[in-house]
Amino acid sequence: MNPLSGYLLVAALLFAIGLAGALTRRNAILVLIGIELMLNAANLNLIAFWRYGPHPEALTGMMFAIFSIAVAAAEAAVGLGLVISIYRHAKTTDLDQMNRMKG
């Protein structure tokens, strides 16, 4: 098998696992974990394309992945802050019970 398509398949599988976690779990923290898995799968794609692309010395894919890691860290901080805030308010992290916009 082509080495690049192996990495792309692993990334696709990881993305699907993260999507399934984000769509099927009740707990808000597990949804965030699913989103982190999806972001990491995208990073794996970027690095694999950088490695097997025609101009790896240009560093574009690597830079994209590094910036993506930084943005994902910011996203995780804000997301978990929101989960803690809503837990303090509603005393639950069950997404099925969060069914109103009004506090």
């Binding site: 692993v10 696709a12 009740r26 097997y52 830079m63 590094i66």
Partner: protein, 168 residues
Amino acid sequence: MNPVFYILAALTVVGGLAAVLLKNLVHCALALTVAFAGLALLFLELDAQFAGFAQILVYIGAVAILVVFAILLTRGSDTPKKEIGVFSRTWFAGLVVAAAVFAVLAWAVLLSAGGLPHEAGVPVVTTQQIGQALMGRYVLPLEIVALLLTAATIGAVIVAMHEKEGAK
């Protein structure tokens, strides 16, 4: 394809599966750490040393700890009643969507496998080159990311800050 890739891929996928399937939230966080470690090793296998070590520092060092903190701070909600289970009411639709997404992605990858580039020479990229690129060509994105991280950190603290009783 060398056996190292298969071992790392299996480690990563099993870690990811365990992270979304296990019942206990702390176990989920630990499995997530395994998946992150597998991804970091895959980055190293792809000769992306800087990204691999950044992955270890940022994800295993910071994000996983943050997830564990959030799980422990929202304790009491992590023991779901037996009759409800850990999956939401619409779990079947979510599973179908995820399976469809994987089917489309895998189909596209396998269809284009012939056109993908084969084994390329190992790129020699030193940390010095990355630093020079970050300070030269990518200095504006770097500053924007710094601003974003500051804003996100302050925003997260403000959102999660405890509101005092009677305070406005």
